[in-house]
Symmetry: C2
Subunit: 170 residues, 2 copies
């Protein structure tokens, strides 16, 4: 089964992201707006039991922390994905490192850029238009992250939450 | 904010439900296949903290339990919803009662019929066709439930998991 680990931001930020994702993200219906901490990886039913224990340990290492979203950016020229850039924090970096060091699943080649996708698979024209619009609107948002979620993927490509893990709580 | 409580069945049962929901359930993209334990209710940010504590206490009262799905049924003549009927168990009944007794939100007028919706808002002709097909195919499935989830609804009508609660675990 395919698993992944993500942070779901507040309803406010999810609603804002969805107002763009609805038109510009083909994954709109597959998963709510999220910040990916660990990309999809394969695990068996028995492996996931150990992984769940590990995720529990990792979650205890970090206290709830603030994230800031201050920019809309794009991964161009790598691809046409447009995203809310989340400013890196020690906790985000630490969680990312731990989730690749202590849990099976290969680390991507590209570096960790914390983000919430709002558009992808856009044509070049759409990409410029949407990025221009969002750039003008601007974004300035801060909130506290106090949990992350382990998810698994269904056959239709959508994701179901398997379990949530509270940061820093015993 | 609107909240609800539900059980997500195994990936296997979700995939099976989705194979019908894709065509016959307009809520297909809003939430993965689920068994509703408590219908949507309003709660403020401060209320939900207390409610989360209550849900934690409720989850400790019940051990993981088996559910059986043996029939495809319809709520006709009340409405045209087609569902996998989940055989009632003491745990399902207990969870349902506790979730309405100990957590704000009014109990529906109709009795609790544990189910996983696979089709709704069908025309009468579609309803008969789909129910006939599913009835012929039959279903016989058993699995263990060991958790439930608190969800909240986004502005677009979709649901995000807020937190998962393990049954019987300290």
């Amino acid at each position: 089964m395919k698993y992944g680990v993500a942070i779901f931001p507040s309803k406010k930020l999810q609603d804002l992201a969805n107002s763009y994702r609805k038109r510009y993200d083909p994954h709109y219906a597959l998963i709510p707006p999220h910040l990916t901490l660990k990309h999809s990886f394969e695990a068996s039913d028995s492996e996931i039991k150990d992984i769940t224990r590990t995720l529990n340990l990792i979650s205890k290492k970090y206290n709830p922390f603030s994230i800031q979203v201050t920019k809309v950016k794009s991964f161009q020229p790598v691809n046409n994905t447009i995203y809310f850039k989340v400013e890196p924090t020690a906790e985000l970096e630490g969680l990312y490192e731990d989730l690749y060091t202590d849990v099976p699943g290969e680390k991507p080649e590209y570096p960790f850029v914390p983000h919430i996708t709002v558009g992808q698979k856009l044509s070049n024209d759409e990409h410029s238009d949407v990025l221009g619009q969002l750039d003008m609107l601007g974004i300035d948002h801060e909130e506290v992250v106090d949990r992350f979620a382990l998810l698994y993927q269904l056959d239709n490509g959508s994701w179901t939450v398997c379990e949530t893990f509270h940061l820093g709580r015993d």
